[in-house]
């Protein structure tokens, strides 16, 4: 497995790139979320234009051995439309904030997609039969002479080309006053939670007209507001446990068994601040942009502006592992504050065995960390190295002093090309990396 095997750590090769090559990118085409389903055979992306694109992994086929693992478009649909809230005079963007797959329950696939306000449950199903035969018209739709009808025809089903249909099954609306930042399906597979800046709601997947508010941190007086909820996730196998992270860099773990309202947390994860590195930006960069449980449920990972931390759920006072993502930016915080980049929300993900983690950076760089060897690598998602099966070259950023060959100076990093969203196949070493409007798929070199 890439990243773990002793000598050849992090050998990744290019597999595919999706999206237009054009230099000027339409805002609507910018990818805003990437998510594999439970089996990894489907990969969904959402974009700022409210569209969801689903890719399906091709089955291995004998005559084209290289096509194995390739993802091709399976279905594309418009999940959300721009809306206008007339009461509050607010525009509601169509941008897809998150996509979460449901475990497969029959031949069709289901996913939840959300924008700032409304969560939708979509069904993606296949149809390969079509009914034929009318009584009162022919197949072309031309009416037949109605008289005399001597016999009745019952339609018969004939095979047809496979058709993939996406249909909205439920719409969960009107429960969030603030912008939804997370949705997460519970391991009981009948409920899911949705979190906005100040509240977390618990929904039943089959009930759209009510949800239960389980966390509410809105102060009576909004002037006393000191922190907001930045992300929330359900535990992968304990149906009563969920966590939420805050803009203050802390994570709270709640147990839904204890009480109907989870205002009081069960565990509180916080790393004491190092007073020596305290600065004007400390608070901003400690804000957590993403939290993810490991597949095993033993650990969770949080991403803040400069680092990724892995926490053992049994230890609240400090993370067990901390990885620097782009420490070289610490000296650049001032300009990153001025161009608003400091508020970018980077996500992070685990590989299938929880042995490695991945998260994004600027200049289309993304970082991987092997947890056992503590090795890390910086890779770049770019079209230059996009020859099929071309090995990705590790990148290095020069951190002051003299720039060596192959190194890139911090000053020449492009802060407009950022990788916020990445996803790792649940079983295989295949990763999907969203770089603005392009989706890159890489696989480990032995594939």
């Amino acid at each position: 497995m890439a990243g773990v095997g002793g000598g050849n750590d992090f050998q990744w090769c290019f597999s595919q790139v999706k999206g237009a090559i054009d230099e000027d990118v339409a805002e609507a085409d910018i990818i805003s979320t990437v998510e594999f389903n439970y089996s990894g055979d489907l990969l969904a992306t959402g974009d700022k234009g409210g569209r969801v694109v689903i890719f399906q992994r091709e089955q291995e086929c004998k005559n084209r051995p290289h096509s194995r693992g390739e993802y091709n478009v399976y279905s594309t649909f418009q999940s959300h439309e721009p809306e206008f809230d007339y009461l509050k005079s607010l525009e509601i963007e169509e941008k897809i904030n998150k996509i979460r797959w449901l475990p497969q329950q029959n031949a069709a696939h289901f996913l939840l997609s959300t924008n700032d306000k409304t969560i939708k449950l979509w069904k993606i199903g296949e149809r390969d039969k079509r009914a034929e035969g009318y009584n009162l018209k022919d197949e072309g739709g031309m009416p037949r002479d109605p008289f005399p009808i001597t016999s009745l025809r019952v339609p018969v089903l004939k095979p047809m080309d496979l058709m993939v249909e996406a249909s909205p099954r439920r719409i969960f609306a009107n429960a969030h006053t603030y912008h939804i930042n997370s949705i997460s399906v519970n391991s009981d597979f009948e409920t899911y939670l949705s979190a906005d800046d100040l509240r977390i709601n618990l929904w039943h997947l089959e009930i759209t007209d009510r949800s239960f508010n389980i966390v509410d941190i809105k102060p009576a007086n909004m002037e006393e507001l000191t922190e907001v909820i930045t992300a929330a996730e359900c535990h992968p196998n304990q149906c009563n446990v969920f966590v939420y992270s805050s803009s203050k860099g802390t994570i709270r773990l709640c147990d839904m068994r204890a009480a109907a309202l989870c205002d009081r947390h069960t565990k509180f994860f916080e790393e004491p601040e190092d007073p020596s590195s305290r600065s004007f930006f400390s608070e901003i960069i400690s804000s957590i942009s993403d939290v993810k449980f490991s597949h095993s449920g033993r650990y969770m990972m949080t991403r803040d502006y400069l680092s990724v931390k892995v926490w053992d759920l049994n230890m609240e006072n400090r993370p067990v592992e901390t990885y620097q993502v782009h420490e070289y930016l610490r000296s650049k915080l001032c300009s990153l504050y001025e161009n608003d980049c400091i508020f970018d929300k980077f996500e992070c993900c685990w590989n299938g065995t929880d042995s490695a983690i991945m998260t994004g950076s600027y200049n289309n760089f993304f970082r991987m960390f092997d947890r056992s060897s503590r090795k890390d690598v910086t890779l770049e998602a770019c079209r230059e190295s996009s020859k099929p099966r071309a090995l990705l070259k590790p990148r290095k950023v020069c951190t002051g002093g003299k720039r060596k060959k192959d190194e890139i100076s911090v000053d020449s990093l492009d802060f407009n090309r950022k990788i916020l969203h990445t996803a790792w196949h649940p079983n295989d070493d295949i990763i999907a990396v969203a770089a603005t409007n392009n989706l890159y798929i890489f696989q480990d070199k032995f594939n």
């Binding site: 025809r153 249909e165 109907a260």
Partner: protein
């Protein structure tokens, strides 16, 4: 031409068949709902060979169409040729039992259960039982959840080898990987236990029950509580202690409040199922704990059961148990921090007085009632007031009237109009119990004040209330106390109040009778026909139409008719319309 008649009759059927595939969901739905007509026209043979195969694959349709289809197929036995051919219905129902929409699946299972009864024992083993097995071992959990509902209908009618297989399948599903299937199995556990032989209940069901009741998922454990009721009913008393009680005790102290909530919610059923002895020894302390639970939802659920639990206590020790164990907890709940708990308690607490009798009620319960009548939450006070009849029987309402009055007055003047509305609805009941004297003295002014409330719903309820009071206290009382005040409002400067007079007349005339209506009300109504506000004038026309049947013909011809004729030539369109309507309804033209 020969057969021309047949062609005519086939046409509507042809349309129905074509509309099975119409673009419009409503038309498809209509067509599915007339599926029996189609089947009848096709005959049993073509229904079996052509219609059912087509329907088997129509699982792509909208939920409402599928739901209707699943329902129809449950009544299709005769249309496919009777019980002999009923198994032909299995394929379409099997595919419906695997769709993702729970309501459709449930309906398909319901239909399958229905037609299972129409299978001969042989067909049941040859056709139905294999279907159950297929569903039970299906790849997707939708089919496995559906299977859970089918075991109990085929089990009693199959051979012992097949029975053993069915038990094995059920066992497998109880430990399925997905919580959805375990939930489905847990919810059918009680039902399945009922059809099993007692030995198997003891050997199989109990172990499954114990396993489900300690499942890692809260949502599964709480369903085991429901199964507990059915299982406990099946077992002989001497086995309950060893086989059921350990699990039940564990559930009542479960770490998850949702499970404890379920125990509280099912407490009366559980109590009946385990019998008086265990109730006394085990359930009483368990109930006390639930009443003191740290989660308000649990306390509220338990508070709701206080009366029922006390009622069902064994008679010999009832009073003792209530006084020494339950009442102390109830006393604490009266001042609970959560208003849902208090209002749940308030809705049942009055019922305790009949159980405890006069002396205990006066000594122990009355202070609680009085405290709740002063509660800050209006819902608590309302719940007490709405149940006054229970106390009335035991100690008479006089004991309470001192505290009752301030409580009623406060609710009557509450800032929230829904609270005011709720108390108005209890007025006739209160009036009945407090008597006319008390009413005139204390409550009459309130009832009149509501007539000029600024919320229409309150004014409307107030008029309706007056009618009920008149029905209770009689026409004489109305003539002396109500009618003069109502009619006085006809001169109010606010036209909304003048209209209230008319609305009161509408609802009072019948209860007051002809004399009062003709002599007192009619002149006022007639006079209002020259009101400057058109809304008042057309309401005069409507009122006249309403009270017309109560009046005698001389009043109608002599007094009502001229006025209506005048209104019929009013310059306002609405006034004209309603005047003409009244004239034609009263046949005055």
């Amino acid at each position: 031409m020969a057969g021309a008649d047949g062609d005519d009759s086939l046409y509507p059927i042809a349309v129905l068949i074509d509309e099975l595939r119409n673009e419009d969901v409503q038309l498809r739905l209509n067509s599915i709902k007339k599926l029996s007509t189609i089947a009848l026209a096709l005959g049993v043979e073509r229904t079996r060979t052509e219609l059912l195969p087509f329907l088997t694959d129509t699982i792509y349709d909208e939920d409402e169409v599928l739901l209707a289809l699943a329902e129809q197929l449950g009544n299709f036995t005769m249309l496919v040729g009777g019980p002999e051919y009923v198994h032909c219905l299995l394929p379409p129902l099997e595919s419906l039992a695997t769709v993702e929409e729970t309501v459709v699946r449930d309906k398909a299972v319901e239909s399958l259960r229905k037609i299972s009864q129409e299978h001969s024992p042989v067909d049941l083993e040859v056709h139905f039982e294999p279907l159950v097995k297929r569903l039970a071992s299906g790849d997707w959990f939708t089919s496995r959840t559906s299977a859970c509902g089918l075991f109990s209908v085929c089990y009693p009618r199959v051979s012992s080898t097949v029975k053993a297989e069915i038990r094995q399948h059920f066992r497998t599903l109880c430990s399925d990987d997905t919580p959805m299937v375990r939930r489905a199995a847990a919810s059918k556990l009680g039902e399945f236990a009922k059809v099993l032989e007692l030995d198997y209940v003891k050997s199989d069901i109990i172990s499954l029950f114990t396993a489900l009741a300690s499942d890692e998922q809260d949502s599964v454990r709480l369903l085991a509580v429901e199964a507990c009721v059915s299982i406990a009913t099946l077992l002989p008393q001497e086995d309950l202690e060893t086989l059921v009680m350990p699990t039940l005790r564990q559930a009542a102290e479960d770490k998850s409040w949702r499970v404890r909530y379920m125990v509280a919610d099912k407490f009366s059923e559980l109590q009946k199922a385990v019998g008086p002895e265990i109730t006394k020894n085990d359930l009483v302390p368990a109930f006390q704990n639930l009443l003191k639970d740290c989660e308000a939802e649990v306390r509220a659920a338990a508070a709701n059961k206080v009366k029922e639990f006390c009622e069902n206590l064994p008679e010999d020790s009832r009073e003792n148990v209530i006084m020494s164990h339950i009442l102390p907890c109830v006393k604490e709940l009266v001042s609970d921090t959560n208003q849902h708990v208090k209002s749940a308690l308030a809705s049942v607490i009055m019922g305790l007085s009949t159980i405890l009798g006069k002396d205990n009620t006066v000594e122990h319960l009355l202070p609680l009632f009085l405290a709740q009548l002063k509660d800050e939450c209006p819902e608590v006070r309302l719940n007490i007031i709405s149940n006054l009849d229970c106390v009335n029987e035991v100690i008479g309402i006089r004991q309470l009237s001192q505290s009752l009055l301030p409580a009623i007055v406060e609710l009557a003047e509450d800032a929230k109009w829904r609270v005011r509305l709720a108390i108005i609805e209890y007025m006739p009941l209160l009036a009945g119990q407090l008597g006319v004297e008390f009413f005139d003295e204390k409550l009459n002014t309130l009832c009149m004040a509501w007539l000029v409330d600024h919320v229409y719903a309150i004014r409307e309820a107030a008029t309706c209330n007056l009618m009920k009071l008149v029905e209770k206290f009689g026409a004489d009382w109305a003539q002396n106390t109500i009618v003069p005040k109502v009619l006085g409002m006809a001169n109010d400067p606010n036209y909304l109040h003048r209209m209230t007079t008319l609305f009161c007349v509408n609802s009072l005339s019948e209860a007051c009778g002809q004399e009062i209506t003709t002599k007192q009300m009619l002149p006022v109504v007639l006079k209002m026909s020259s009101d400057p506000v058109a809304n008042v004038r057309f309401n005069v026309a409507k009122s006249l139409q309403k009270i017309g049947p109560v009046l005698d013909s001389s009043a109608l011809q002599g007094e009502v008719k001229p006025i209506l004729e005048k209104l019929a030539s009013d310059q306002d369109m609405d006034v004209k319309y309603f005047a003409q309507e009244a004239i034609s309804v009263l046949a005055l033209a």
